[in-house]
Subunit: 364 residues, 2 copies
Amino acid sequence: MQIAIDAMGGDLGPRATVWGAAEALLIHPELEARLHGPIDILEAELARLPRRLHGVSSRLLLSHAPQVIPQGLKPSSALRASRDSSLALMLADVASGRASAGVSAGNTGALMALSRRALGTVSGIPRPAISTAIPTRGGGRCYMLDMGANIDASAQRLVEFALMGSIMARQIDGLARPRVALLNVGIEATKGTASVRQADALLREIHEVNYVGFVEGDGLFSGSIDVVVCDGFVGNIVLKASEGLARMLIERVQATFDAHWGSRLVSLLARPALHRLKRRLDPVRYNGASLLGLSGIVIKSHGGADAQGFACAVSRAVQEVRIDLPAHLERELGQQSVISSVVCGRRDSGFPTRSKPQDFNPER
Amino acid sequence: MQIAIDAMGGDLGPRATVWGAAEALLIHPELEARLHGPIDILEAELARLPRRLHGVSSRLLLSHAPQVIPQGLKPSSALRASRDSSLALMLADVASGRASAGVSAGNTGALMALSRRALGTVSGIPRPAISTAIPTRGGGRCYMLDMGANIDASAQRLVEFALMGSIMARQIDGLARPRVALLNVGIEATKGTASVRQADALLREIHEVNYVGFVEGDGLFSGSIDVVVCDGFVGNIVLKASEGLARMLIERVQATFDAHWGSRLVSLLARPALHRLKRRLDPVRYNGASLLGLSGIVIKSHGGADAQGFACAVSRAVQEVRIDLPAHLERELGQQSVISSVVCGRRDSGFPTRSKPQDFNPER
């Protein structure tokens, strides 16, 4: 299995991606990683790999990409930009079938737009959603989508997210009937925006989804829901707020120990445990995010991820390749689109067919 | 100073409100609290007050209210319901001037609708926003509004929230130029919904607000912003998600200690500190929320608040009474409405005047 990697994205750049790819190869002995980026930078980073990762270096393939898409570049500009960027060449590997999946920690908007152009979407999905798993009480996890790819989501789009999230939780996590909920400001049917109220009505008719109704914000972490659906505006804000809060809380736990006890012994003892916890709880940094609905597997690693975080994103890609998640989405959404057309026929002419980037505004 | 209290709201009912009011009286020697509820229930609760609170019982006045507005009742039904409810009678005290402010831990939608009918709004504000202070890094705090009163907020409404939040932070917290930001999915002007992009453009023209631009979700807790503005859908979900996450994190910190160290000593030592921290960090439970924009002072205590939490809500009411926050809002928004009419004239005929409940749908 070969995974293509955009080595130039993320806050730490190749320092995190090259090392992270090597970490992933250590975990997956059958894996090869093809790194895209300026060859001199990649070679320099490879030369700095710690000794314990030297054994995997023969499975780290380097591919020269002269261009890098900067973090701030708009998706529309990225689409017009040179096809020699590390991001575009990584995606070309996936599109050609040379690689089974692609991973990038770079510009999310550019990754969305270029992935969609390079790979297209599965039938019935006009535009992918971004989904990641967040940790929940009781040690479980919950998929949240969309995390920012679809700022305004109609009821129909929210229903698609519910279908895709449900298929992912079933196929990847082996849940028989994943519990799917819509994020809202209350659990009564009269609460919320027009989109969530319409999506609620639609989902009650789709028996292939184990739809459990509305969930409020605290339900995200309750452990009682497997897939939480919302538009990308809310999803992105909630995820980033959670990151910020988690960081603040861990700092304060540490500060509380430092301040309150005469002896700093407890504080010192607590430090490694807190560090471990910080890792495990940072809801985005240590999980790859799936671009769900593409006709191919692309994982977005968090921009702030270190090598360990990036390795997790690569492992996520491996998981989705093993299951062949896009094939499941294609097959099940194909069946669903019949069901949904019936349900939605009143207000919608059914799902659009496989779409190309021309019909979306990449600025949003 | 007299504060009127709806003693029947909240998950714990009079157990939290009566005791909480007494706690507040202990802190504020000049204060009287007038408790509204079924007299037999109030008397029974008063008889159970712990000894250390006996000294304040002469300042706890009881007022018989035969009806209670249940938690699930819709605002429209609450508006039609008997005026003998503990909530309505509490508000009547505020409207008549007998009490300087009112506090309730009950049904938020009903509280909003009845407050607006009883007190009206300050000039230029069609509908109040709910605002609470959340803890930030570095031990500071940040006001967030709206937290759920306005599910869909136009650019104009977001601008009003920014103005009100800025005035509150200046008057109550003594900040010279509170930093005000709009919550969004990115900091570039092209990001986000139409409303936030329009509000961004409008706020750049209003020099009375120290507007610093967009902030992402993690900015809420960063300590670099004093007032974060968003619509009530996002605000409510973010706040409740934060509550859920804070609860989960503290549990996991405790579990990490229990699991990882042979000796449970550290865990036992950590317990009280964690408990204190849990209190301080629960972003909503231990702060009252202001119904900002009413022509009167009404504080919503968290439904899950215990006596300590309810006492904090009463203290918040006292603070706003001392400053006479509605008078500041009335005066400054009166001036602002001139400025804003000029700015907004292109797309809006200026601020509506003082409004009555007829023109809003209390279900949303």
